[in-house]
């Protein structure tokens, strides 16, 4: 199967999954106890006003019709308005998704080279103290929930021992006007995803270093430095690429607790605010956005995995 067909097929499956997800997300709102009109107007609303708002929100239409109109609006970019602030959900999302993407992009750009180097270094010192220390350190870090790591970082670098970086984001300025606030959330996310990449890089490097062509290169008198950087590392990165892509997808979930912890105005914090306020239109849009991102990045991971492993390409994966 050619790469184009593979990507096309995966995109089609992805679109299908998202369509089913949208039914699920919309269906969830139908199951809500109480009705959305009452949520907008509050407990003391009069029956007349409830009736009017219900008609405005098309709450009395059959569920299928409501789903179709909701899904149609979603596809055309009309995400409705927040039942809390009455602002269009789209405005709310635009700023937040930019902030979240910034956070994830910096975390990925820091974590990837760091973990690749650490994994390579660990593999080169196989079974020495440094290797065991890396192995144990990554295992411990991989166990810890992100908010635990984040709170410890806040204690050490912000409020407790040192006061180097701010622990919360000021809501009056944009993120870029206060770059120092990015340090601790990024560090938390880097510590969350690096262990997996590091361990995978170490494992594949051990395999590559043990392979025939590396032995061959050494016997042919290729200097060790170039054996490592010209031959071994490029061959090890392929299989690791899929893990890197999967960790990017993981970040989409990881940001939820981290953004809440640092009061970071992103998608994750938006989801929690929407859950607390039972702001369903906002929640639906944000959850769909995360699902779309998640499905897309997982698709990317699939494709990268196939590219890195040519055998899968011919196996019709």
């Amino acid at each position: 199967m050619t790469l184009g067909r593979l990507v096309g097929r995966r995109l089609l499956i992805g679109a299908f999954i998202l369509a089913v997800v949208s039914v699920l997300v919309f269906g969830a709102s139908l199951l809500l106890p109480g009705d959305a009109a009452r949520a907008v107007l509050g407990r003391s609303a009069s029956p007349d006003r409830l009736e009017i708002v219900r008609a405005q929100m098309h709450l009395d239409d059959p569920p299928l019709l409501r789903y179709l109109s909701w899904a149609g609006d979603l596809l055309t970019g009309d995400l409705g308005s927040s039942t809390v602030s009455q602002e269009p959900v789209l405005d709310l999302i635009a700023g937040r998704s930019g902030n979240s993407l910034l956070l994830m992009a910096i975390a990925a750009l820091v974590a990837t080279p760091l973990s690749l180097l650490l994994g390579t270094w660990s593999a080169l010192r196989r079974d020495k103290a440094a290797d065991h220390l890396t192995s144990m350190g990554t295992l411990v870090l991989a166990s810890l929930p992100e908010f635990v790591v984040g709170i410890v970082l806040i204690f050490v670098f912000s409020t407790g021992l040192l006061s180097w970086f701010p622990a919360v984001v000021s809501s009056t300025e944009g993120i870029l006007e206060q770059p120092a606030v990015l340090v601790l959330p990024v560090a938390t996310l880097v510590l969350a995803v690096s262990p997996y990449i590091t361990r995978m890089m170490r494992a594949t490097m051990l395999e590559v270093l043990d392979s025939d062509f590396v032995h061959q290169a050494r016997m042919n008198g290729v200097p060790e430095r170039s054996v490592l950087w010209r031959h071994a590392v490029p061959n090890a990165i392929g299989p690791v690429a899929q893990v890197i892509a999967l960790q990017l997808a993981y970040l989409a979930g990881g940001i939820v607790l981290v953004e809440f912890l640092f009061d970071y105005p992103g998608i994750g914090e938006g989801i929690i605010t929407a859950v607390d306020a039972r702001d369903i239109p906002t929640l639906q849009a944000l959850v769909m956005l995360v699902a779309a991102f998640y499905v897309l990045v997982n698709l990317l991971a699939d494709v990268v995995g196939v590219l890195a492993n040519p055998r899968l390409r011919t196996a019709g994966a």
Binding site: L18, A28, L139, F155, G253, L261
Partner: protein, 300 residues
């Protein structure tokens, strides 16, 4: 692995089908150093959570002084956000996390295993339908799925358990289905089929006993994630417990605003949660290494 036992079901010369059987695997896991460390950490935290309520100096909800005082007289770790004893709240607050996480793991792994046994050994449309269903649930990060559920069904202990378990089930189903598929083609399954055994007896009698290795690793991992998720939801203020109940996740939520003046009320539960997740994950890793029959890094 250097410490492989010379005798018993785990020896390399035994039929590979029985090599995964639990007793042998447990013994080999024990020989991996980190299993012992992990178990010690886990038991330490469990002991604190179980014994804690009996040795707490104050009651769970009683007021002992002003709010957020770090060195309130007569207290070990000061008072919390409304003036309760932090040390006593900490001692009371572990047990809810333990049993909620345990339930999430049992339900999540159990239902995932059921799906895997059904899908991995059906060779019909059932497999396809079940796996495409897991795809849909895998389209969300676990925490986002949990938040969507909790927005619809108000946070209650049982809704929290079900949402976290629902996040685990498709992931467990994936891993265990692969393990079941691997076993399903082996000779002893073929011979059971040729003897005319029906599908469920084969699933429970031949397949299940031979996937205990991956099942135990998966259970350990899911327990680690359950602790993180349940505590994380508590940290978000969505634990679903009574508002004044002491709970480690909820304690972090209540006291995080005053973290700078009174760090203990946050740090004690954070450290306990951290030790617990590290402990359970070390055990899971120890079992994984023993199951892979190697003391080396397990790839993937």
């Amino acid at each position: 692995m250097s410490g492989a036992p010379p005798l018993g079901g785990g020896g390399p010369s035994v039929d590979p089908g029985t090599a995964d059987l639990a007793p042998g695997l447990l013994r080999r896991s024990w020989a991996v150093g980190r299993t012992k460390v992990g178990l010690a950490l886990t038991l330490l935290v469990v002991a604190v959570a179980v014994v804690g309520p009996f040795v707490a100096p104050e009651s769970e909800t009683g007021f002992v002084g002003l709010a957020n005082v770090r060195d309130a007289p007569g207290t070990l770790f000061g008072t919390d956000n409304i003036g309760r004893d932090v040390w006593s709240r900490f001692l009371y607050g572990g047990i809810s996390l333990l049993w909620l996480s345990a339930l999430c793991t049992i339900i999540g792994v159990g239902s995932g295993l059921l799906v895997a046994l059904l899908a991995g050994y059906s060779r019909t449309w059932v497999d396809e339908v079940l796996m495409r269903t897991t795809d849909v649930f895998l389209a969300f990060p676990a925490i986002v799925l949990a938040l969507l559920f909790l927005a619809v069904f108000q946070p209650q202990p049982w809704t929290v358990v079900l949402t976290v378990a629902a996040g685990h089930a498709p992931r467990v189903a994936r891993v265990m289905r692969a393990a079941v598929l691997d076993v399903a083609g082996r000779d002893y399954v073929r011979s059971a089929e040729s003897m005319g055994l029906r599908r469920w007896p084969i699933r429970l009698g031949d397949l299940l006993p031979n996937v205990t290795g991956p099942l135990m690793v998966e259970s350990g991992l899911r327990l680690t994630y359950s602790v993180g998720l349940v505590a994380g939801l508590g940290f978000l203020g969505l634990s679903g417990l009574e508002a004044d109940q002491a709970d480690w996740g909820q304690m972090i939520n209540e006291n995080r605003v005053a973290f700078e003046v009174q760090p203990w009320a946050v740090l004690l539960p954070v450290v306990a949660i951290g030790l617990l997740t590290v402990g359970t994950n070390l055990v899971a890793d120890g079992i994984a290494r023993a199951a892979a029959g190697t003391d080396r890094e397990v790839a993937e």
